[in-house]
């Protein structure tokens, strides 16, 4: 059930209609049932995977709380279980089709679909939530949840199941334990998020994605550097709007249930350094990586080597963290290179801190801030190359960007698509200047009404065709 389909609208309406009539405790049971029903609409086996992972983590956390002797061992067993589950499905999905091809080449017959394994919907996201929950319980930052319904709902809650946001149990579980209120203010904010999300996804991201010619990804060297630069920018904005649009939609939908979800994006392409970029891009993943990878590595290094060098602390934690981030996105060399590049960017930008104090970007002159934004954006889109392109093509693309002898734009669509790219920039610019995600709520009612009407009309038209791409981050 795609989030932008009429089926999802009807499903949500039905769930909401019943939800509003129920008392709090029953609301959670109802939401859990609805969430599993939502999962089953994709594949009933996904519900089994989710159920098993939820139960195992629930039980481990209870024992981590009461078992003083083997707490550490249990924690690692829990983390190991979650990581192995993720690796198993990821590796199986990656290697089995290759194995099948190998068998086929060797003339060994295989059953149709026999070697195919689907990665359960949202696995990468709820596994991270489960790990953070176990660690928080172990650290004593959170009491193990004794209510299986609430815990299962924490992992399965359908608005955030497909691709996050990656919520922390210590923030999310208390929301489930208290009565929810949907008043005018919450409703207005939720509806605004849904409208902005639909605009980003259906009217910007899908439009930008549709403009791609298929061979841009297969043989990028066919294009000149100016065209490739534009394709890269289009990809960067398509990816951003696709994921930010998804997040806005699910936050808006969740808001209708009176459950606020975390923001994942804060105008990331206006970042003035790479550290800031990761505070603005996929925020819930960045914070997870910071708290459960970066900080433990830093602390570990200090513990193992009490006199350890500042240089080591500059290099190892960011590089390892970003490599883990790359692997989380996909078990492949090109994703590892993408993570490695971002690790490298962070190391390089922090090098100067070895000999002079760091000036926060907001304290720098405006012109320097804008130049910094340009530099960060340039390097970020260069890093999107191995994120999207397989390795030989990625190197081909980087190589083609070095030869600027031919700069004629031969494809009309590169011009046609620009208003949509500028539309994305405009939304971000308004939010960035106001430093307020809900800036549109300050507009006069008539302006808001006109915007909403235009969006409804365009969504009505955009959803008529046979172009229904899923959310990009759904695949991770």
């Amino acid at each position: 059930m795609n989030l932008t389909s009429i089926h999802f609208v009807l499903f949500t309406a039905l769930v909401l209609g019943v939800y509003y009539l129920l008392p709090r405790r029953t609301q959670n049971i109802w939401l859990l049932l609805a969430s599993y029903a939502f999962v089953i609409t994709w594949d009933w086996r996904f519900a089994i995977a989710l159920g098993v992972i939820s139960t195992v983590n629930y039980l481990i956390a209870l024992h981590v709380r009461i078992n003083d002797q083997g707490r550490r061992l249990l924690l690692w067993a829990g983390i190991g279980f979650n990581v192995l589950a993720l690796l198993f499905f990821r590796a199986a999905a990656f290697f089995l089709p290759q194995l099948e091809t190998l068998f086929a080449k060797s003339g060994v017959p295989t059953q149709a679909d026999g070697l195919q394994i689907l990665i359960p919907l949202g696995l990468s996201y709820y596994v991270l939530q489960a790990i953070s929950y176990l660690v928080d319980v172990y650290r004593g930052q959170l009491k193990a949840e004794s209510d299986l319904v609430d815990f299962a709902l924490y992992l399965a809650y359908f608005p955030k199941l497909i691709a996050g946001p990656i919520e922390r149990a210590r923030a999310f579980l208390p929301k489930l334990a208290q009565p929810r209120v949907v008043d005018n203010d919450v409703l207005t904010r939720s509806v605004m998020l849904i409208f902005v999300g639909l605009t980003r996804k259906l009217l910007i991201a899908d439009m930008l994605s549709a403009s791609f010619l298929s061979d841009v990804f297969e043989s990028p060297a066919k294009y000149n550097p100016l065209e490739l630069t534009l394709w890269l920018m289009i990809y960067a904005f398509a990816l951003y709007n696709d994921f930010a649009g998804y997040t806005d939609i699910v936050r808006g939908v969740s808001g209708l249930f009176g459950i606020e979800l975390s923001a994942n994006f804060r105008t990331p392409y206006f970042s003035r350094n790479f550290t800031e970029f990761w505070k603005r891009w996929h925020i819930t993943l960045s914070e997870w990586l910071r708290d459960y990878i970066y900080f433990p590595i830093s602390r570990g290094l200090r513990r193992v080597h009490p006199g350890f060098q500042r240089v080591t602390s500059l290099v190892v934690p960011p590089m390892l963290t970003m490599l883990v981030s790359g692997l989380w996105h996909g078990l492949s060399l090109h994703m590892l290179i993408w993570g490695g590049l971002h690790g490298l960017y962070q190391i390089v930008e922090r090098l100067s801190s070895l000999w002079r104090p760091v000036v926060p970007p907001q304290n720098q002159p405006l012109w320097r801030q804008w130049i910094a934004m340009g530099i960060v954006f340039t390097f970020v889109i260069l890093a999107w190359v191995p994120f999207r392109w397989e390795l030989p093509a990625a190197f081909e693309l980087w190589g083609a960007l070095l030869n600027w002898s031919d700069v004629a734009i031969r494809y009309r669509r590169l011009f046609f698509v620009m208003p949509f790219l500028l539309g994305s920039l405009l939304i971000d610019l308004l939010q960035y200047k106001a430093q307020e995600e809900f800036v549109f709520l300050k507009w006069p009612p008539l302006a808001r009404a006109a915007c909403m009407a235009v969006i409804i009309l365009f969504v009505f038209i955009a959803t008529a065709g046979d172009f229904e791409p899923p959310f990009i981050y759904q695949a991770f």
Binding site: Y19, Y20, L21, P23, R24, Q27, P179, R180, V181, V182, D183, N184, L187, T188, D206, M207, A210, S211, G258, R413, F416, V417, P445, L446, R448, A449, A450, M452, A453, V454, I456, L457, F460, I461, A462, T463, A464, G465, D466, F467
Partner: protein, 364 residues
Amino acid sequence: MKHLVQPSTLQLTMPLGKILGPTTVVLIVLLCIAEWTTRLESFQASLTPPKMGSRHYQLGQKLSLLDAEVMRNGPIDCIMVGSSMVDVGFDPASFQTGYHEIAGRDIRCFNFGIDASSASSAAALAKILVEDYHPRILMFGTDARDYAVPPEDRDPAAILNTPWVRYRLGIFSLDGWLTEHSSLYRYRQHLSRLFHFNFEDTLWSETKLDFEMLPNGHTLIDTVAVYINDPPNPEDDSFEVVYYSNIYRPYRLLGGNLDALEKIIDFNGSETQVIVVEMPVSDGLYYFFGNGEKDYEQYIVSVSQLADLHQVSFWRTEPLDSIPNDGWSDYSHLNVKGSGIFSTWLGEQVGRLEVSEGSAVSQP
């Protein structure tokens, strides 16, 4: 403040209308502007006709061509419905020549053959066409496939599943109603494809049709099949051979399709004369039937009996020996040459019928 609803979670108060009202008003204005724009001739001229919710481009295209023909030259005299055999096999221009030869006056016909449609689809379209265009002659070019049990028990043309067709048959759906009444809704899929850079099948300038379709609805095919009198090679796995084998090998008549023929025949009356015509097939087609010509006769007898019962003309084309071997594009489809010969013959037949009946139904 007055609460509209007050269970524990939902706590909404009145000022909601501040946004909802103006949004609705602006939306209605925008929809009206968009509806008006999509009705403009200049807007429609550069776009291919809307598909009316069907997966068949032919349905929308033929409706659009028929509308244009009626706008240009007034009401149409006759329409022929049927499958692809009609689409490529009935040439209204040759029909007019043959008719004029006998009756001494002109007749304007339109070819409304749709690929892969069955008798049920043809009956549905016949109802819509008779209601909207009031032709004085409705011809149904029929063949054995029209009555066969289709593979997977469904109508391959899916015409009957189109919400607009179902709506016109009296089965209400919002989709069908909007397709019938709103130009914006009909062009919505086109606009969506344009937004997503999918210009093929949407802009005339970017559309490459496999075959040329004339303004009278006739699709021209000029390929020549040289094998049409030979039995098919059992190892041939071409689409044509596999398709015919699947349909005809265990040939069975589907009751629903014979009922559909009866519905077409029911249009026969004072305003519209119905003529059922056997579409010509090559000798090679008989090889596909499990029981050869015996199976084929089963279809002919069933159609004849129904036509006789309702006193409607059913014309066999079996004696039509004048279609040469190079008049076929495959076992059952005529090419340009074959369609010209068949249609001229058919025009003469209709001319003779009208002359013999004293033009009782011939002139409005």
